[in-house]
């Protein structure tokens, strides 16, 4: 009670100081009037009494001050003053404020965006109520290895009335139809009736899947928010609509909350369906698929544990899926925290794929912000120097040093606060724009890129802003109030102190950090170039990949194959097409390569030296069309047909490995388990097909016409164009539609599109790193320019003297330039170890270049020296223009 009163009192006098002052005045006046009355009572005249009372009371203003300056009220109050003062100071120099706020805002905003992505991808919990309670039931407490059960085991465990366990499986439907449009590859969570009761994901519209839905087996589903938005416009409009899965119509009964992306499905999650409905959809029967069991632990883990243990031991410890140790009673039921979702295999896990890149980006934006901070610090420092006289006057009028430091810190904090606010606005707007314009390869991230403003993001931004304020505020504040106030008072308007080591240190640091970012960008660009050029063939910009699929269409395999020569002819006749080749695969569009084991006559074979090669069939002209160089021998031609001698072309790496000393052309090779020999007729350059980071596979190319039985339901063409591929694609589509109406066109894309899908992550990272590098260089250049300009202006007199004593303009310019380059040099000394350290840290992201490759670093050093020269050009010209007479007289 009294504590509350006390607090109320404190805050009232702090928040409404004017009102509190008025009350004090009134109270003092009352006091004086009573004292005066007392005197009148004792015989004094009224006037006399009033004056006496007033005199006796003393200095009311001072008293008021004293009351005000007490405890927290005083502190808050003077901070208010500082804020008001700081605000005025910032408004007085709008250009400075604009530059500082913009650079801070961009820096903080970039950090918020990347942090937002990291947060929603790596840190965020599944958006359900009390996600921290979610546990995956497993056999082995320590590993997710056996975190699934057979259908029978799951049923037995769920039958225990003492525990609440929901069952769920990963589902996949190759194709669904929505509004007549076909969507390929849809991931599902297949759940039992208790899932929505136990896990309870929130719904944006409609209703959840109930036990009744699960029992009746009616095909219903709850789709994801993004799915609803993409295909039906809004969540509300989605409920009641249907989706066609195979032959079944599935009714949408609900839409999950935005951000809910399934528990098990992972990448490409579209909807949750009851398992009984899944059976109708032709999925695997419930008791065959591994089932995840999810439960919630609410401080009753021991009870749940023993209940499940007992059930499991009774029903299923001898099941075929269970661990032998389980059967011996050595292993018991365990729980895995799945508050962040069920981890999938590393390979298809978005999280694992992007972790390295995101951490690299976070590092990049953090360094960038650090540079921005040092720049603002530099500006503040220059301002503090310019304000030295004002501060000196205030110090000598009795302001304590602490008070002035606080004043400057409040100014810095104010700046950071405005910068942070601008930053979060940049972040929200920028990430929304970014998520709409993601390059093809990283569309998966669409959902996570657009940051949802929330407590975490705000807290992060606030923390970053405060850190910024400390970084760029403390040094200038201490510096501005240090020691020599007499000197600054004595100095005339024009004379300013020389820059100190501190300013130069800051600029050198900026140069070092810029070097780090520029050389990282160099490494990532090199990586991108190596990756892009490592696919089989050359010039993907003018190559079109076409893949046709007869499966599930009116066309039989033989009909398709019969039309292949005609298709080839028609494609070749299209305007803008320079060559066409058939092939079993073209780079980047086939998920896996056919492989075979080679037996090479005359070579010792053993199980360890098994030669596994990629082997696929290509038509005549394939190497020429793709741009794969023929190194020796000949290409396939029209004489290599069914019935003629079997022939093969091998890749250079295979040739070098097995025929290093001999000429491979004319040699025989044979696949294990086959009696047919193939004669090697040519050697071509190595070509990658699917995995760009792995070395090119050993490859055996075979003549397409000699192996017709291998082709079946697919036809693949590579089309080389002499014009932009986009101009040819419609004509090619028309040809296909005419010859094979309703055939499934799996691919009809410029190869460069496929390439950007494959290396989209790397490209995005490289582009961003270049942007970071450019920004860093600009910021460092601005910092360098500032310090040099300041130095020249403060040394005008000295330069004048030098020139009067005979120094030439060239000499003066060289002197200034030399100093700038010396600064860059120090920065480079700082930056080179940083750059190598950074490169080491992002080793996993690099390809085709080692972290210790001196070239990117050397190039960055050169860039920074050039930038240093440019930044120092204007100041040095100004130095050379100094008129000795004017300069000497000026002081």
């Amino acid at each position: 009670m009294s504590l509350l009163d006390a607090l109320r009192h404190r805050f009232r006098s702090a928040i409404r100081p004017a009102a509190a002052d008025r009350e004090r005045e009134e109270e003092y006046a009352f006091h004086q009037s009573l004292a005066a009355r007392q005197r009148v009572h004792e015989g004094a005249s009224p006037d006399e009494a009033r004056f006496a009372a007033k005199r006796e009371f003393g200095n009311a203003t001072l008293l008021k001050e004293e009351s005000r300056w007490m405890g927290a009220g005083h502190w808050l109050d003077s901070t208010r003053q500082d804020l008001r003062f700081g605000w005025r100071a910032l408004r007085r120099s709008p250009l400075f404020t604009l530059v500082a706020v913009t650079s801070l805002g961009l820096g903080i905003g970039a950090n918020a965006v990347i942090f937002g992505i990291i947060h929603s991808l790596l840190l965020a919990r599944v958006p359900v109520k009390a996600a921290s309670e979610l546990r995956l039931v497993s056999h082995e407490p320590d590993g997710p290895l056996r975190a699934f059960f057979s259908g029978a085991e799951a049923e037995a465990l769920q039958a225990n009335p003492n525990v609440n366990v929901a069952a769920l499986r990963q589902g996949f439907v190759p194709r669904v139809e929505v509004n007549g449009a076909t969507i390929n590859g849809v991931s599902l969570d297949v759940v039992d009736g208790s899932f929505f009761r136990i896990v309870a994901p929130g719904l944006a519209a409609g209703r959840a899947i109930t036990e009744e839905d699960a029992r009746s087996g009616t095909p219903v589903g709850v789709v994801s928010y993004d799915f609803a938005n993409t295909h039906f416009g809004s969540a509300r409009a989605t409920v009641g609509k249907t989706i066609k899965l195979g032959e079944t119509l599935l009714t949408i009964i609900g839409v999950s909350d935005a951000g809910y992306a399934g528990l098990a499905a992972g990448q490409g999650y579209a909807m949750t369906v009851p398992s009984t409905a899944m059976r109708l959809l032709g999925g695997p029967a419930n008791d065959q698929a591994p089932t995840f069991l999810i439960t919630r632990l609410r401080g009753d883990s021991a009870r749940v544990h023993s209940a499940l243990d007992a059930t499991f031991a009774a029903c299923c410890a001898n099941g075929e899926l269970s661990d032998p140790r389980m059967r011996r009673g050595e292993q018991r039921i365990g729980f895995i925290d799945v508050s962040r979702g069920i981890e999938e295999g590393k390979k298809i896990n978005v999280r694992a794929q992007y972790e390295g890149i995101l951490l690299a980006l976070m590092g990049g934006v953090a360094v960038l912000l650090l540079i921005a901070c040092t720049n603002v610090g530099n500006l503040l420092m220059a301002r503090a120097t310019a304000r030295a006289r004002e501060l000196a006057v205030r110090l000598s009028l009795g302001a304590s040093r602490g008070r002035i430091v606080r004043q400057l810190l409040v100014e810095a904090t104010l700046l950071a606060a405005i910068g942070g606010t601008a930053g979060i606005m940049f972040a929200i707007w920028g990430s929304a724009a970014l998520s709409r314009n993601l390059p093809a390869g990283i569309r998966v991230l669409e959902r996570v890129v657009a940051i949802r403003p929330g407590l975490v993001i705000f807290a992060f931004t606030a923390a970053v802003s405060i850190a910024c304020a400390i970084i760029f505020g403390v040094l200038p504040a201490l510096r501005a109030t240090s020691g020599d106030m007499i000197t600054s008072l004595r100095e005339t308007q024009g004379g300013v102190r020389r820059t100190r080591a501190l300013d130069r240190g800051i600029v050198a640091t900026q140069v070092g950090l810029a070097l780090l970012l520029v050389s990282s960008a160099g490494l990532l660009i090199t990586t991108l170039r190596h990756l892009a050029s490592s696919i089989g063939g050359s010039n993907p910009e003018t190559l079109i990949a076409i893949q046709l699929d007869a499966r599930g269409t009116p066309h039989s395999d033989t009909a398709l194959q019969a039309l292949v020569p005609e298709l080839t002819r028609r494609f070749r006749a299209l305007p803008g097409v320079s060559s066409v080749a058939e092939s079993y695969v073209v780079p980047l569009i086939y998920g896996g390569l056919p492989t075979g084991l080679l037996d090479l006559p005359g070579l010792e074979t053993s199980p360890e030296s098994d030669v596994e090669v990629a082997n696929f069939d290509v038509g005549p002209g394939y190497f020429g069309t793709l741009g794969v160089r023929l190194i020796a021998g000949r290409d396939f031609d029209s004489t290599d047909v069914r019935g003629s001698k079997l022939v093969a072309v091998i890749s250079e790496n295979l040739a070098q490995h097995f025929f290093s000393t001999r000429n491979p052309v004319g040699q025989q090779l044979r696949y294990r388990g086959s009696n047919e020999s193939l004669e090697i007729i040519g050697v071509v350059a190595d070509a990658k097909q699917v995995d760009l980071r792995a070395p090119a596979p050993w490859t055996v190319y075979q003549a397409r016409a000699q192996w017709p039985q291998r082709w079946g339901d697919r036809a693949v063409f590579a089309v080389r164009t002499s014009v932009q591929p986009a101009q040819v694609v419609p004509a090619a589509r028309a040809v296909i539609d005419e010859l094979l109406p309703n055939i499934r066109i799996r691919h009809l894309n410029p190869m460069s599109d496929l390439l950007s899908l494959t290396i989209g992550k790397e490209r995005a990272l490289a582009m961003l790193s270049v942007a970071f590098g450019v920004l860093a260089v600009i910021l460092a250049a601005v910092g360098l320019y500032g310090v040099m300009a300041f130095q020249v202006s403060s040394r005008t007199r000295e330069i004048g003297v030098r020139m009067a004593l005979g120094a030439g303009r060239g000499q003066v310019m060289r002197m200034v330039m030399g100093q700038a380059l010396a600064l860059v040099g120090v920065g480079v000394l700082l930056g080179v170890p940083l750059a190598f350290g950074g490169a080491r840290a992002m080793r996993a992201l690099l390809y085709g270049v080692t972290p210790f490759d001196p070239f990117p670093v050397a190039l960055s050093v050169a860039v920074l020296f050039v930038v240093g020269l440019v930044a120092a050009a204007l100041p040095s010209r100004n130095a050379a223009r100094v008129d000795p007479l004017v300069a000497i007289r000026s002081d």
């Binding site: 009294s2 009192h9 404190r10 009350e23 009352f30 001072l62 008293l63 009351s67 007490m70």
Partner: protein, 110 residues
């Protein structure tokens, strides 16, 4: 020895104010009057000390203040001691008495 009006021993004004308020609610002037009268004018309450002391007590939650109509018809700020104030008063009074006793022992010892 002539009687002199004395300045108050630093730090004791708070106790005197609390003690005064423990008799009933009062405004600032009343408090000063009471202290002066009760000490037979031996203690003069400086207004420059009284109001900061009251402010201090308010912030410490030992007293509360309320604007009310005074008998003269003007608005006056009346102070009331809180439960915490009474507790503090008790502690301070005994501490003060101990201190006085200790000081006298020192002064009386020859």
């Amino acid at each position: 020895m002539t009687r002199k009006t004395r300045d108050i021993v630093p730090g004791t004004l708070d106790i005197l104010v609390l003690r005064t308020l423990s008799l009933g609610r009062m405004h600032g002037y009343g408090i000063a009057q009471h202290i002066e009268r009760a000490s037979d004018d031996a203690i003069k309450v400086e207004k420059g000390s009284l109001y900061p002391a009251l402010e201090r007590l308010l912030r410490g939650g030992l007293v509360t203040a309320k604007w009310e109509q005074s008998p003269t018809g003007r608005r006056a700020r009346y102070y009331t001691i809180t439960a915490a104030g009474r507790r503090t008063l008790g502690q301070e009074v005994s501490a003060f008495q101990e201190m006085v006793a200790a000081i006298s022992r020192v002064l009386m010892t020859t």
